[in-house]
Symmetry: C2
Subunit: 318 residues, 2 copies
C-alpha cells in the first residue's frame, strides 16, 4: 500500500538528495517522496507536502506556502532557521535528530584539545623544516573543561572528556545533576564558570536568549591561558569581541567550527590568526545513513500516532 | 643523620640535573648526592656510587668501574641500555618507573589517532590557504586498535582507547585477560593480529626478542588502510622495511615518536614523507617532579630492606 503522506526532501548538496532517496526507497517502497535539489523545486511542490525532511539550509521563506504541512524532521541539531520563521503554525511538529551528533562532536573536541596540548601545529611545521625540537607536552589530566549547554550533544562531550581524565564543569539553565560533572553553573553564574575553565566548549542551541551570549565582558572573564571551542553556531559568540580578545591575547586561542557567515569569507581576519584553528563546519557530519534511520523511525511513529523522538519545544526555541 | 648511601645522578640535560638535585634535597636533606652533568664527572665518581639514578642516555661503558653499585633506578621506561651492558653484576637491582608514562602516552596515541581521523594536517594547510573545504570526518568508533605489549603503558593506552569507543585487541606474550580488551593474541598469532588492526600501536619493550619484530612480512600483513604508531623504541620496527611499506602505500601511514637514531638525521627520508608524522620523542615526558617522587619512594624502601617498585626482570630483559 502506498503511503498517502507526501514527504518533501531538500538538501543543499544534490547528490545527498539522491542518497536519501535511495536509502528511504530501499527501506520503504511505499513512501511518497518529493525530492528537491533547488529552490525552484521546493517552490513547485511545497504546497502538497505533508512532511518536510531537511536541515539548516532549508529556505524557510517557502514555508508560508506549505498548506498541508504537519511535521518537519530537521537533519540538523540546530533548528534556529525553522524557529525564526514566523509562518509555521503551532500544530506543525518540529523534530531534531538526537543521539547521533554527540559521539562525533566528542571526538572533535577531544581531538582538538589534544592537538593544542600536544602542540600539533608546531609539530607539523617542524617536520616540514626537518627540525627536531623536543618540548614538554602538557597533559590534559586535571585541566578543567567547561561545557556550555548540557543537551544531548553537550552531555556526551562532557562524559567523554570526563573519561579522558579532564575535570568537567557545566553551564546549563536547568539543573541536570550529572554524576560526571563536578559542578553545574546556572544562568546567573556564567562569569564564575568562565573564570575557571581551561577549555570553554559551546554546545548550546542558538535561540533568542543565547545569541551573542559571549561578548566582551564574558570573554574577559576567561583565563588568559584558556581556549574557546565553538561547535554549535557562530552567533553565540560576538565575533568582533572574539577577534579583539584573540588579538589582545586575553585568551590563549580558539577552535572554531562555526561562524557568523559560512563559508567563512576569504578576507576574514580569523584565517591568518596564529591562535585560531578553523574547521569548515565538520564537527558533526550529517550522514544520510544515520539521518534516514532517524526519519524512518519517526515516520513510523507519526503514522501510528505515537510520540516522535526529538520534538522541539517551540517556546524554548530548541 | 646523613645517609651513607651515595647516589649518582646523571641526565644529558644539565639543567635537569639541577632540578633533580633541588627536588631531592628539598625532600631529604640527608641524601648523599653526586650530581654529574657530563661523562668526565661520571668517570670521576662512579666508583664510590651505591646507587645510580639515570635514564636511557646513561653511558653504560662506565658501569664496569662501579664497584659499590647496588641499585640502578632508571628514569626511562625503556631499560635496554642497562640490559645490553654485560658488566652489571646479577645482585645489582634495576628498577624502572611505573605508572607515570601510561597517561601521557594514552593522550599522545588518542590525540594522533584523532588527528588522523579528523585530517588535521589538511585542516591546518587549508587554513593557511584560506580554503573552506568541508569533508566527512571519520569516526574512530568501532575502529580496531591493536596494542602491542600490555605492560603498564600498553594497558593504560588500551584502557583509554576502549573508553573512547575504539575496539581494542592486544598482542602480548603472557595472557592478561583484561576485560576491556576484546581479544589477546599470543606470540604465534602476530600476523592475525596485524591483519585486523586499523591502528597498530607499539608499546613493547626493546629486548633481544623484540628487536626488529616488525619487518617486511609483518608490515605486509597490515591493512592498506592501517596506521602504525610507535611510542616505544625505533628498532622494534625494521626501518628500511617501514620506509618501503610507506612508499609503496602498503599501509596508510605512520606516527613515529622514536627512531633508530635520535635526533632523526636531517637527511632521513621520513621527514618529507606525506604519510608520516614525526614527533621528537616526546610522547612520555620524563618530568623530574614525577621521577624524583618515584626515586624517593624506592630509596626509602631500599633503606628499609623492602621490595622496590618496578624491578626489572633481568632474564626477560624488561
Amino acid at each position: 500500500m502506498r503511503s498517502t503522506l507526501k514527504v518533501l526532501i531538500y538538501y543543499h548538496i544534490p547528490e545527498y538528495v539522491d542518497r536519501y532517496e535511495n536509502l528511504l526507497k530501499t527501506a520503504r517502497e511505499d513512501i511518497y517522496l518529493i525530492t528537491s535539489k533547488n529552490e525552484k523545486q521546493i517552490d513547485q511542490f511545497i504546497e502538497i507536502a505533508d512532511i518536510i525532511f531537511s536541515g539548516s539550509s532549508f529556505p524557510v521563506e517557502y514555508l508560508s506556502k506549505a498548506k498541508n504541512l504537519k511535521w518537519i524532521q530537521s537533519m540538523s541539531a540546530g533548528v534556529e532557521n525553522f524557529m525564526r520563521s514566523k509562518v509555521i503554525p503551532a500544530h506543525v511538529l518540529i523534530t531534531k535528530p538526537k543521539g547521533i551528533f554527540g559521539p562525533h562532536m566528542a571526538e572533535y573536541v577531544i581531538g582538538y584539545i589534544l592537538a593544542l596540548s600536544q602542540k600539533m601545529k608546531r609539530v607539523f611545521e617542524n617536520q616540514k623544516k626537518r627540525v627536531w625540537d623536543p618540548f614538554i607536552v602538557e597533559t590534559i589530566h586535571n585541566k578543567v573543561a567547561g561545557v556550555m549547554g548540557l543537551g544531548s550533544v553537550g552531555t556526551h562531550v562532557a562524559y567523554k572528556l570526563h573519561l579522558m581524565g579532564v575535570e568537567v564543569i557545566g553551564y546549563e539553565e536547568r539543573e541536570r545533576n550529572l554524576p560526571f560533572i563536578k559542578h553545574e553553573y546556572s544562568k546567573l553564574e556564567l562569569n564564575e564558570f568562565l573564570e575557571i575553565a581551561d577549555y570553554v566548549i559551546i554546545t548550546l542551541p542558538l535561540t533568542e536568549n543565547t545569541v551573542g551570549l559571549l561578548g566582551e565582558r564574558q570573554l574577559a572573564s576567561m583565563k588568559k591561558s584558556a581556549y574557546l571551542i565553538n561547535v554549535s553556531r557562530g552567533p553565540l559568540v560576538q565575533e568582533e569581541a572574539l577577534i579583539y580578545a584573540l588579538k589582545k591575547h586575553q585568551i590563549a586561542g580558539a577552535v572554531l567550527d562555526v561562524f557568523d557567515k559560512e563559508p567563512l569569507p576569504k578576507e576574514h581576519p580569523f584565517w591568518e590568526m596564529e591562535n585560531v584553528i578553523i574547521t569548515p563546519h565538520i564537527s558533526a557530519p550529517s550522514l544520510p545513513e544515520d539521518l534516514a534511520k532517524i526519519f524512518l523511525e519517526n515516520l513510523k511513529r507519526f503514522e501510528e500516532g505515537k510520540d516522535l523522538i526529538g520534538v522541539v519545544d517551540r517556546a524554548r526555541g530548541y
